[in-house]
């Protein structure tokens, strides 16, 4: 099945979209600012011959001329290999030092450790995943990067319990949901080979449950960000549309310094809440990245 062809009605320049999906991704690292400065990490990467090039929208997110995992700054815990577009949701969530933040679907921890860094390692991040193997990867990343403000729980995020902790509701929550991963095709061509509509439907049901729990667990006036690395409206706007009907929250405008298009308000026979135009769709040809969807919600009850 031509999965990318499904999105012809949504994507303005379908040829550029298809061409970008066929190219490999640039190698990108995020500097772990808990451990060093962007300047010093850049100097160390220069020493290693990796020619770091800053991205123009996120300090410390550097494109490299080679692989990110075998060099001195990496060995020191100064770097984390992270696809450029995967740095978007934590920036949109904008957590502040001292806040209490839930990363609902956290493994392998790229966003968890980015959240901790944005918070200056102050306050609390609770990072949850239901897969014990992936939790091990999350654990090794928080350890390697020297993150001290994060607690890890292994549980189904839909039933997340605050019981182990002193805090009540969260100030902010991130749901970077498990998805059909169509937008990672540049990294993993099998993403499309294994695609089935049944999987999309099944994963959308999980996404709805996790996002609902995130809204419930966040205080009134708090922020929830929902994101995926897929194009399918069934896993994006449709999920948020469902949760807007079930929980007290509203989409708010996102100030996103990357090229993108707005969320859609209709797909095939479905129509969605008009405010979903406040969501962002990032296609691979926009910024030479993977594909991404992101929406910011304010909790109103």
């Amino acid at each position: 099945m031509d999965v990318l062809g499904r999105y012809e009605p949504l994507v303005e320049d379908i040829d550029a979209f298809r061409a970008a999906c066929g190219r490999p991704l640039p190698s990108v690292v995020r500097v772990n600012t808990l451990r060093t400065s962007v300047e010093r990490a850049s100097a160390a990467l220069e020493e290693a011959g990796l020619a770091p090039e800053p991205t123009d929208w996120h300090p410390g997110l550097l494109r490299l001329s080679g692989q990110p995992g075998a060099n001195w700054p990496y060995a020191h815990g100064w770097l984390h290999g992270q696809e450029e577009v995967s740095a978007v949701p934590a920036r949109v969530l904008d957590p502040q030092p001292g806040e209490v933040v839930w990363d609902a679907t956290a493994a392998p921890g790229s966003k968890t450790t980015q959240l901790a860094a944005l918070m200056g390692d102050e306050g609390r991040v609770v990072a949850t995943d239901n897969n014990i193997g992936r939790v091990a990867a999350l654990r090794s990343n928080t350890e390697r990067l020297g993150v001290t403000n994060t607690a890890v729980t292994t549980e189904d995020a839909r039933n997340h319990s605050l019981k182990p902790f002193a805090h009540g509701a969260y100030d902010r929550a991130l749901v970077d949901a498990p998805c059909s991963c169509e937008g990672t095709v540049r990294k993993n061509p099998d993403a499309l080979a294994e695609w089935t509509f049944e999987h999309v439907e099944g994963v959308a049901a999980v996404q709805k449950g996790v996002l609902r729990r995130a809204v419930q667990a966040t205080r009134e006036g708090g922020t929830v960000v929902y994101s995926t690395c897929t194009f399918a409206p069934e896993e994006n706007e449709a999920v948020v549309d469902h949760v807007l009907g079930e929980e007290d929250c509203r989409p708010v405008e996102v100030d996103l310094p990357l090229s993108h298009t707005n969320g859609v308000t209709g797909w095939q026979d479905e129509t969605y809440d008009e405010r979903l135009t406040r969501a962002a769709r990032i296609y691979p040809h926009h910024n030479d990245t993977g594909g991404f969807f992101c929406v910011k919600l304010e909790v109103t009850g």
Partner: protein, 186 residues
């Protein structure tokens, strides 16, 4: 109250068993007098050890609480506005800094990279070639006039020395303690 000040006395409150529960995080008692679980180090003992062994003063750990999970594995957690309960049943709580189950306490690689920059003694600085062998997990012969035992191993990167990991020095030999998953051939 800062979480790091440690409501250690709370360890004697109800609901605590007198044995180490391997899968649970228990806050270290503030001092040995408040100890309930036999063999569990106190916060005071851990801070004293870091100061004696490496010159890392107790002020470095202000704002952090210390926890045990698994026999002798010590974790460090940043303070939050509301201090966590004295026992927390989760997968991880902050990061590991120290292992205390053997006669000689051993800092972790992550702990040394995170806090070792404050050290003023028992830091062995390697040149680039020696650092390569160390990161690959090899042992090497080299001279060292300081204490034997677990040392902070550092080397220069981007113009300044930086702690890299933990080495065990005895009889003219430095044994790399870099965990298998973090070894690299650079």
């Amino acid at each position: 109250m800062s979480d790091g000040d440690g409501a250690g006395g709370g360890n004697s409150s109800e609901g605590h068993t007198a044995e180490n529960v391997p899968d649970r995080f228990d806050r270290l008692p503030a001092t040995a007098n408040e100890r309930v679980v036999a063999g569990r180090p106190s916060r005071a003992a851990v801070l004293e050890w870091f100061e004696e062994r490496f010159g890392v003063g107790p002020a470095v750990f202000e704002g952090y609480s210390l926890w045990e999970r698994g026999a002798g594995k010590i974790w460090v957690l940043a303070a939050a506005a509301e201090p966590e309960p004295d026992a927390v049943d989760v997968e991880a709580l902050g990061m590991t800094v120290l292992r205390t189950r053997q006669e000689h306490w051993k800092p972790t690689m992550a702990g040394v990279q995170r806090f070792g920059g404050h050290a003023t003694r028992n830091v062995l600085e390697l040149d680039r070639q020696q650092a390569r062998r160390f990161l690959a997990g090899e042992e090497q012969e080299l001279g060292w006039d300081g204490d034997w035992g677990y040392l902070i191993v550092a080397h220069e990167i981007a113009g300044e020395p930086e702690p890299l990991g933990v080495g065990l020095y005895t009889y003219g030999t430095l044994r790399s303690q870099v965990p298998k998953g973090r070894r690299r051939e650079l």
